[in-house]
C-alpha cells in the first residue's frame, strides 16, 4: 500500500481517525494509540516485501541503539562523548549514503521508502542530544517520533522536541477539536491540490507538446506545467500529512507557504519545502558557518556565507539523488543563493531601491525565472537532454 495515493490508504485512515476522535473528545492521551496506528500503517506499507520490512526493522533497531548510546554518553559526562557522538552520527547517516550510491548501480539496492526522511529526524535527535537540548527523551517517544506515519514517506521533516511536547501535553476537548477541524481542513485542501491541481498540471504537461509547434515555447510551457505539478503534488501531499497529524493531536510543521510570491531566491527557500530548507539551515549551513567563523577558515563573513550556501545546496541536490540533473540543480541553487546574498550585501543600488514598487516587481519577475529554471534542471529538462541521457 502506498501512502496518499491508493484508495486503500484513505480507507485505512478512517478507523484510525475515528478512534483518535473518540480519544480526543474524551481528553485521553493519544501517544500510545499513535504508536500503534503508526506500526499498523507502516506494516501495511512494507508487508509486500519481507526484505524491505526486515531492513526497516533493522534500521529502527540500529537507530534506537545509537540514540540510547549517545544519550548515555552525554548524561554520564563521558570525556570521549563528542568523539563517540561523531561515530554514532556517521553510522546513523551511513545507510542513507550507501543506499543513495547503491541505487546508482542496482535499482533494487536494499532500502525502504522514507529512509531519507527518517535519517533527517534521527540525525536531528543525535545532534540535539549533543547540544544538550534533549536529555530525557524516552525510547518510546523516540520510536513514536521516527515511526509517526502521517509524514513518514515524504515529510514534512518533523522536529522531535515539539513532537514530544505534543505527546506529553494533555489536550482539552476544545483544544483537540480545534486541531481536528484544522486538520480536516488541511487534509481536504491537500487532496484538492493533489487530485485536482496536480492532475490539471499533468494534463497540461501532456497537452503542451501536442498544441505548441515552436520547440522553445513548448519547452517553456512544459517546464511551467512541470513546476506547477511539482508544487501541487508535493504541497498537496504535505498538507494531507499535516492534516492527518493534527487529527492525531500532533502539529506537523507547514511545508509550503505561497512559494510563488517570493521576491528573491532566499525568500523562495523560506517558502518552498520549508521543513527541508530549515533543517539544512539549522544543521548544515549554521553548523558549517559556526565552525568556519570560529576557526577563521575564510577571510570574510561574506565568503563564509557563500561557501556555506554552496555546501548546503550541493548536499541538498545529492540528497535528492546522485545524478547529473540533481547535482547540477544543487550547484545552481548554491550559486543563486550566494549571488543573491552577495548582491544584497554589496550592491548599493539594491539597498537604495529595495523597497520601491518597481524594484520589487522586477525582483519577483527575475526570481520566478530563476525558480522555474531550477525546476527545469530538477525535472531533467536541461542536463539530461544535453548529455543525451534522455528524460
Amino acid at each position: 500500500m502506498s501512502f496518499y495515493t491508493e484508495p486503500a490508504f484513505f480507507v485505512a485512515c478512517v478507523p484510525i481517525v475515528l478512534i483518535a476522535i473518540l480519544l480526543g473528545v474524551r481528553e485521553r492521551p493519544m501517544g500510545r494509540f499513535g504508536l500503534v496506528a503508526s506500526c499498523v500503517m507502516l506494516g501495511l506499507l512494507f508487508f509486500r516485501s519481507l526484505p524491505t520490512l526486515a531492513f526497516f526493522i533493522a534500521y529502527m533497531g540500529m537507530s534506537v541503539l545509537l540514540f540510547v548510546w549517545v544519550r548515555g554518553l552525554f548524561a554520564g559526562g563521558d570525556p570521549r562523548a563528542v568523539t563517540y557522538y561523531r561515530i554514532a552520527l556517521a553510522l546513523q547517516i551511513a545507510p542513507l549514503a550507501v543506499y543513495k550510491i547503491g541505487v546508482l548501480f542496482a535499482p533494487d539496492f536494499p532500502g525502504f521508502l522514507g529512509i531519507s526522511y527518517i535519517t533527517f529526524k534521527a540525525a536531528q535527535v543525535l545532534i540535539e542530544v549533543r547540544d544538550g537540548l534533549i536529555e530525557d527523551m524516552t525510547v518510546g517517544e523516540y520510536v513514536s517520533f521516527l515511526a509517526f506515519f502521517p509524514p513518514f514517506t515524504s515529510g514534512p521533516i518533523m522536529r522531535s522536541r515539539p513532537f514530544v511536547e505534543d505527546l506529553q501535553t494533555p489536550l482539552s476537548r476544545d483544544a483537540y477539536l480545534d486541531r481536528l477541524y484544522r486538520g480536516l481542513g488541511w487534509f481536504i485542501l491537500g487532496a484538492v491540490y493533489k487530485f485536482v491541481g496536480s492532475a490539471l498540471a499533468q494534463w497540461g504537461l501532456w497537452m503542451v507538446p501536442n498544441v505548441v509547434n515552436i520547440p522553445a515555447l513548448a519547452w517553456v510551457g512544459q517546464v511551467f506545467c512541470y513546476g506547477m505539478d511539482l508544487f501541487f503534488d508535493f504541497a498537496g501531499y504535505s498538507n494531507m500529512a499535516m492534516g492527518l497529524g493534527l487529527t492525531l493531536g500532533v502539529e506537523v510543521p507547514r511545508n509550503f507557504r505561497a512559494p510563488f510570491v517570493a521576491k528573491d531566491i532566499k525568500e523562495f527557500w523560506d517558502r518552498w519545502h520549508i521543513s527541508l530548507s530549515t533543517w539544512l539551515r539549522d544543521f548544515v549551513f549554521m553548523r558549517f558557518s559556526q565552525f568556519a567563523l570560529s576557526h577563521k577558515l575564510f577571510k570574510s563573513r561574506l565568503t563564509t556565507a557563500c561557501v556555506g550556501f554552496m555546501a548546503n545546496m550541493v548536499l541538498m541536490g545529492a540528497w535528492h539523488g546522485i545524478t547529473p540533473d540533481y547535482l547540477v540543480y544543487g550547484v545552481y541553487h548554491g550559486v543563486m543563493l550566494a549571488l543573491c546574498h552577495y548582491l544584497q550585501k554589496k550592491w548599493s543600488f539594491y539597498k537604495k531601491h529595495r523597497r520601491d514598487r518597481w524594484f520589487v516587481v522586477a525582483s519577483w519577475t527575475v526570481n520566478m525565472v530563476v525558480v522555474f529554471f531550477g525546476f527545469a534542471l530538477f525535472g531533467g529538462y536541461v542536463v539530461s537532454p544535453l548529455l543525451g541521457l534522455g528524460t
Partner: protein, 79 residues
Amino acid sequence: MNDLKSQIIDLVVDISGDDDAAEDLDMDLFEEDILDSMAAIELLVAIKDNFGVSIAPTELERDQMNTVNKIIARVSERI
C-alpha cells in the same frame, strides 16, 4: 548591565551593518531584513567569543531572539 547592553547593540550593528538596529531595541530584526540566517549565526559566534555564552543554533526559536532587547535578555540570563 548597561555595559552588556551597549556591547550587544554594537555587535548587532556591526554584524548587520545597519545603524537602525540601535534606534529601536524592540524592532523585529528579521522582519526588517536587518538580520538573516547568516547574521544570526555570526551573532551566536560573537556572543560566545565576547561573553563566553554558548547558544546552540536550534536552542532558541527565532521569535525568542528577534529583537535587540530579547537578545540582551537571552545573554544576560545565561551569564
